[in-house]
C-alpha cells in the first residue's frame, strides 16, 4: 500500500474502499477504490473540492455508511467485524457538528463520556482536564444555544477527545471560524500530533491544510490522484503549492469531460 512503512505502526488502513449511491440517473461513485494508511503521530490531510468524497470516506471509517466494496481497518480491527470497538477508538469532529441547545457544555461532555463508557470518576477527571486545556471554564454551565461559534467549536473539540481516542477525524474543522477560532484548531491538531494520535483532516482549505498536515491525499471525484508529503507531491507534480496541484487536476478533468 502506498506510503506503508513496516517500521512505523499503521493505525488506519483503507483498502480499495468504494462507495456507490443509487440515484435516478444511475449509480454515482462517491469514493472509488481509495487506499491509504495513517500512522500514529501523523496528521493526514484528505483534500479535495466539494463533492470529492471526503466526508463519505470519514463516514465509512466510522461505520456510518457501509462501503460498497473494500475494507477499513483501525488498530488491527476491521469495521465490518466489530463496529462498536472501532467507534470506541475514534473521535469525530464533524463538519456539521451541532450541539444540543438545551444542554450546557458540562452536560454535553458528561453525556458523551457516558456514551463512550467512562465511569463517573473517569468522566469527572477527564472533563476537568479538557475544561482546563480547551478553556471552557468561562461558559461551562451556560446553555450551548447561547455560545458563540468559536466557543461551540471548542466544546466540539473537547467532545471528540472526551474518551481520549487514539484516532481523531476532523471534517472541515475551521468552517465558520474566525482567525482566532481557527488558531485554536491548529493548536489542537498540533497537540494531537504530539500525543501520538493518528489524525485525518478533511478540508478544502488548501492553505490551512499545508499548515496542519504532514501528508496529503488529493481526492477528486472519489479517486486519490496524488498522495505524499509536500516534498513528494512537488516532485510528482512539478508544482509548488497544493492550489496549483488541484487546479492541474481540475483542469485535466475538465479537458477529459469535453474530450480534449
Amino acid at each position: 500500500m502506498s506510503g506503508d512503512s513496516p517500521s512505523v505502526e499503521s493505525v488506519i488502513r483503507l483498502h480499495e474502499l468504494t462507495r456507490k449511491f443509487r440515484t435516478e440517473r444511475g449509480d454515482v461513485v462517491a469514493v472509488d477504490r481509495l487506499s491509504l494508511v495513517t500512522r500514529a503521530g501523523e496528521v493526514y490531510g484528505l483534500l479535495g473540492p466539494n463533492g470529492a468524497g471526503k466526508t463519505t470516506t470519514l463516514r465509512m471509517l466510522l461505520g456510518l455508511l457501509a462501503p460498497t466494496h473494500g475494507e477499513v481497518d483501525i488498530l488491527g480491527t476491521r469495521v465490518s467485524e466489530d463496529l462498536q470497538k472501532i467507534r470506541q477508538q475514534v473521535g469525530l469532529v464533524s463538519a456539521s457538528a451541532g450541539l444540543y441547545q438545551w444542554l450546557s457544555p458540562l452536560e454535553t461532555l458528561r453525556y458523551f463520556a457516558t456514551g463512550y463508557g467512562l465511569s463517573k470518576q473517569q468522566t469527572a477527571e477527564r472533563i476537568e482536564e479538557l475544561v482546563s486545556r480547551m478553556g471552557l471554564s468561562g461558559f461551562l454551565h451556560r446553555r450551548t444555544a447561547t455560545l458563540s461559534t468559536g466557543q461551540k467549536q471548542r466544546v466540539n473539540l473537547a467532545r471528540a477527545l472526551v474518551h481520549d481516542p487514539p484516532v481523531v477525524l476532523l471534517d472541515e474543522p475551521t468552517r465558520g471560524l474566525d482567525v482566532v477560532g481557527s488558531q485554536v484548531v491548529f493548536d489542537f491538531v498540533a497537540e494531537l500530533r504530539q500525543t501520538g494520535k493518528a489524525v485525518i483532516v478533511c478540508t478544502h482549505q488548501l492553505d490551512e491544510a499545508q499548515r496542519l498536515c504532514d501528508r496529503f491525499g488529493l481526492l477528486h471525484h472519489g479517486r486519490l490522484r496524488y498522495e505524499g508529503t509536500m516534498v513528494e507531491l512537488q516532485q510528482q507534480t512539478g508544482l509548488s503549492s497544493l492550489v496549483e496541484m488541484f487546479l492541474q487536476i481540475l483542469g485535466r478533468a475538465a479537458r477529459q469531460t469535453v474530450g480534449v
Partner: protein
C-alpha cells in the same frame, strides 16, 4: 494549550459503566432536551389550562340554551280571555297537586323532566273565530271550550263543563290533551277530597302511589362515551413535537452524526427517546385530566358529564391506565414515522395522515353498538378506544381486554424495532431518497439471522393471526374430531412454520441459520429425551397450584365442552392425536419461538434477556385458547419457554428443543388418553388433586439427570455471544 493532553494508545472507557447507568444517562439527556424546550412546556401546561375552561364554558352555554329550547310547547286555543285565565289557573293548580306526590328516591340535580310551555291562543274577534277549524288546520294543538257552571272548585273559583277538541292521529295533540286531562282530574280529585273532609267524615285515599327513578343499565352520559377519544387526541398532541424534535430534529440540528458515532446501538439510543416521548405524552394526558377535573368541578358539571358518581379517583385512575397503554403504542408509532424523516417539515407532513387515521375510526367507534369483541380486539387504536369506553361504562370483559392490551403492546414493540432500524441509517444521514419504503424492500444481500426488528414485527403479525385462528377453530368444534385435528394442524403449520419461513425467504436468510436448525451430536439426545419425559409433572403442578389460588379460566359450560372434546379424541387413533396435537405443534412452535424469534432477539440482547423475552412471548401465546383465555397457563408456559430457550442456547440448535417440546406434549396427551384420573390435566377441574409426592420425586431425579447429561454433553459447545457481522447490526 499550555500542557499536553494525556496520551494513550487505547481509548479510556469501553464498558467501565453499567448498561443501566448508561441507559439512564441517555434517557436523562432526551428528557432534558424535550422538557426544557418551551414549545413542549406550552403544549404540556398552557394548552390544557386554557382549553378546558373555554370548552367547559362553551358546553355549559350550549347545554343551558338547548335545555330551554328543548322544552315542549303546547298551543291551546280558547274562545275568550276569561276561558284562558280559568284554564291557566286550573292547570297550575293541577300541576301543584301532581308535584306534591311523595318521591322514594330523588333524582340528582339536572335530571328532572322538562316542563312544557303552555301557550293559550285567544282570537281578537270571537265572532269570526272557528275553534274546530283552528284545530283542524293545525294552528293549535288542542281546542278547549269552557262553559262555566255553578259548581265550585273552591270559594270564588267556579267549576265548568270543558269540551276538549283533539286532532285525530296527532301525537302532539294527544300529548297536550293528556297533559290537560291529568291536571283537570287532579283538580277534580282535590275538590272531591276536600268536600268529603269538610262534611266531617274521615277520608284517606285508598291508593297511594310513589315515584322512584331507576337508572337504566348500559346507558351513560354521551360525554362519557366521547371522553376517551377526546383525551387520547389531546394526549397525542403532546407527543408529536418531542417525537419530531428528538429524531428528525437531530438531523436538522446537525447532532445526528456525532450521536451515531457513539459505540452504542441505535436501539438503545432510540429506547431513550421513546421513554422521553412516552413521559411527555403521559404528562400531557395527566395535565389534560387535571385541567378537565378542575374545570368540571368549578362549573359544577361533574354529575351532568359523568353521571351520579362524578369524576372520581377511580375514574381518573382508569383513564390514566388506558392512556398508558395507548401512549406506549402511539409514542412508538410516532417515532417510527419521524425516524424516517429528514427534517421537521417532512416529519410533520408524514404525521398528518397518521393523525387523520387515528381520528376517523375513533369517531365511528364512539357511536353506540360497537363492542370490544372478535376482530375489533386486535385492530390498533380501535381496540384501545373501545376498551376505554367499556372501562368507563364498567362493562369491560377480561379476555378481550387482555387481547387488546397484548396486541397493542406487541405492535408498539414492532414499531420501536423498526424505528431503530430507520433512525440514523445512511439514507437518513445523507439525505438520499429512501426511508419507510426501505423497510418493505427485499434486501439484496444474504444475511445469517433475522434482525430484532423483523422478530418483533413477525410477533406483532403472528399474535393477532393466532387469536383469529383460535376463534376460527371454535367454529369447527361441533364437527368430527378428525376434521378439527386436521384444521388445527394446518393452522399450526401455517402460522408457526409458514410465517417465519416466508419471512426468511423474503429476507434472503438461509433456513438453517435463520431458524438455528443446526446438527447436534448424538451424545446429547439421551439428556434431551429424559428432560422431555420428566418436565410435565412440574408444569402440571404449577397449573394446579395457580388454579387453587383462583386462576381458573374455564366456566362450567366450557368445561363441558372440553369433556366432550376429550371423549371425541379417544375415538381417533392415538398416533394421529399425538402427531397432530403433540409433535406438530411442538416442532412448529419451536421453529418460531426458539429458532426464528430467539435468533433475532440475540442480535440486540444478551442470551439471558433473549431467552426471557422469547419465553414470555411463548407464555402469552399459550394464554389464548380456542374460544377463550387461560391465564393460568401464562406462568407454566413461560417457565417451559425458559427451559426450551436454555436448551436451545446450550445446544446451539433449535432441534433439541423441538424434540423436547414434542416429547413433552406427547407425554401429556398419552397420559390424558390413558389415565382418566389425569384426563383434565390441560384444563384443570376444580377439585383436581396434586400428583403423588413419589411421582414428583422421581421426575425431579430424572430431570436432574437429563440436565446434567445435557450440560456435560454440550460442554464443548458452550454458548458464547453470537458473532453477528457488524454490517448486519
Amino acid at each position: 494549550m499550555a500542557e499536553s493532553l494525556r496520551h494513550s494508545k487505547r481509548a479510556i472507557g469501553s464498558r467501565q459503566v453499567s448498561w443501566w447507568s448508561q441507559q439512564r444517562t441517555f434517557t436523562w439527556k432526551e428528557l432534558c432536551e424535550t422538557l426544557r424546550d418551551r414549545r413542549t412546556t406550552v403544549t404540556l401546561f398552557v394548552m390544557p389550562v386554557l382549553l378546558y375552561p373555554l370548552l367547559g364554558l362553551m358546553f355549559r352555554f350550549i347545554a343551558v340554551g338547548n335545555a330551554a329550547q328543548l322544552a315542549p310547547e303546547y298551543r291551546i286555543a280558547v274562545e275568550t280571555e276569561q276561558e284562558a285565565a280559568w284554564l291557566s289557573s286550573v292547570i297550575q293548580a293541577g300541576e301543584q297537586i301532581l308535584q306534591s306526590r311523595p318521591l322514594r328516591s330523588g333524582l340528582s340535580s339536572g335530571t328532572t323532566p322538562l316542563e312544557p310551555k303552555v301557550q293559550f291562543l285567544v282570537p281578537n274577534d270571537a265572532a269570526e273565530f272557528d275553534l274546530e277549524q283552528s284545530v283542524a288546520e293545525g294552528n293549535a294543538d288542542l281546542g278547549v271550550r269552557v262553559s262555566f257552571s255553578e259548581r265550585q272548585i273552591s270559594d270564588g273559583f267556579p267549576g265548568a263543563d270543558v269540551s276538549v277538541l283533539q286532532a285525530e292521529s296527532s301525537p302532539q295533540s294527544n300529548s297536550v290533551a293528556t297533559h290537560l286531562r291529568e291536571r283537570l282530574a287532579a283538580a277534580n280529585l282535590l275538590t272531591a277530597v276536600n268536600t268529603i273532609r269538610q262534611s266531617g267524615k274521615s277520608f284517606s285515599m285508598p291508593i297511594e302511589e310513589a315515584l322512584q327513578w331507576i337508572k337504566p343499565l348500559n346507558q351513560t352520559s354521551a360525554i362519557l362515551g366521547l371522553l376517551p377519544l377526546v383525551l387520547l387526541l389531546m394526549t397525542v398532541t403532546g407527543g408529536v413535537y418531542p417525537a419530531i424534535d428528538l429524531t428528525a430534529g437531530e438531523r436538522e440540528r446537525d447532532t445526528l452524526e456525532t450521536l451515531m458515532a457513539l459505540p452504542v446501538s441505535r436501539a438503545r439510543l432510540l429506547m431513550a427517546k421513546f421513554i422521553a416521548v412516552l413521559t411527555v405524552t403521559m404528562l400531557t394526558g395527566l395535565m389534560n385530566i387535571l385541567a378537565m377535573s378542575a374545570t368540571v368541578y368549578a362549573l359544577q358539571m361533574e354529575s351532568t358529564l359523568f353521571g351520579e358518581s362524578g369524576l372520581s379517583i377511580s375514574l381518573i385512575f382508569k383513564l390514566l391506565s388506558v392512556l398508558l397503554v395507548f401512549s406506549t403504542f402511539y409514542s412508538a408509532i410516532l417515532l417510527l414515522v419521524t425516524s424516517s424523516a429528514r427534517s421537521f417539515k417532512e416529519a410533520q407532513a408524514l404525521l398528518i395522515p397518521l393523525m387523520l387515521t387515528t381520528i376517523a375510526p375513533g369517531l365511528v367507534i364512539m357511536m353506540p353498538g360497537w363492542r370490544l369483541e372478535g376482530w375489533l380486539t386486535i385492530i390498533p387504536v380501535v381496540n384501545i378506544l373501545l376498551m376505554a369506553r367499556e372501562l368507563l361504562e364498567e362493562t369491560l370483559n377480561t379476555f378481550p381486554a387482555t387481547i387488546a392490551i397484548a396486541s397493542t403492546l406487541l405492535y408498539a414493540s414492532a414499531a420501536l424495532s423498526l424505528a431503530a432500524r430507520l433512525f440514523g441509517t445512511d439514507a437518513v444521514l445523507t439525505g438520499s431518497r429512501s426511508g419507510l419504503r426501505d423497510l418493505l424492500r427485499r434486501p439484496r444481500d444474504v444475511s445469517e439471522v433475522p434482525s430484532t426488528a423483523v422478530g418483533f414485527s413477525t410477533l406483532a403479525i403472528l399474535f393477532p393471526m393466532h387469536f383469529l385462528a383460535s376463534g376460527f377453530l371454535t367454529r369447527v368444534s361441533g364437527t368430527d374430531f378428525s376434521l378439527r385435528l386436521i384444521v388445527s394442524a394446518v393452522l399450526t403449520v401455517s402460522l408457526f412454520a409458514g410465517v417465519p419461513v416466508l419471512f426468511l425467504k423474503w429476507l434472503r436468510i438461509p433456513l438453517k441459520s435463520g431458524a438455528r436448525l443446526s446438527h447436534i451430536p448424538v451424545r446429547i439426545w439421551p439428556g434431551i429425551v429424559l428432560i422431555g419425559l420428566s418436565a410435565w409433572p412440574w408444569i402440571y403442578e404449577m397449573i394446579i397450584g395457580l388454579q387453587s389460588i383462583g386462576f381458573q379460566s374455564l366456566n362450567a359450560s366450557q368445561m363441558q365442552q372440553v369433556q366432550e372434546l376429550l371423549k371425541a379424541w379417544r375415538e381417533v387413533p392415538v398416533a394421529l392425536v399425538v402427531f397432530g396435537l403433540g409433535v406438530l405443534p411442538g416442532v412448529c412452535e419451536e421453529l418460531f419461538f426458539r429458532g426464528f424469534l430467539l435468533s433475532s432477539l440475540r442480535r440486540e440482547m444478551n442470551t439471558a434477556a433473549a431467552v426471557i423475552v422469547s419465553a414470555v412471548c411463548f407464555g402469552l401465546f399459550h394464554v389464548v385458547l380456542a374460544g377463550g383465555a387461560a391465564p393460568e397457563r401464562l406462568i407454566p408456559s413461560t417457565v417451559m419457554g425458559l427451559l426450551l430457550g436454555s436448551v436451545t442456547c446450550r445446544c446451539r440448535s433449535v432441534v433439541p428443543a423441538m424434540v423436547l417440546h414434542g416429547i413433552h406434549n406427547s407425554t401429556l396427551l398419552l397420559i390424558a388418553t390413558f389415565n382418566q384420573q389425569l384426563a383434565n390435566l390441560a384444563v384443570g377441574e376444580q377439585h383436581q388433586s396434586h400428583l403423588p409426592a413419589s411421582w414428583l420425586a422421581i421426575s425431579a431425579v430424572i430431570l436432574g439427570i437429563g440436565f446434567a447429561w445435557t450440560a456435560v454433553a454440550t460442554r464443548t459447545q458452550t454458548e458464547s455471544r453470537m458473532l453477528i457481522p457488524e454490517s448486519q447490526r
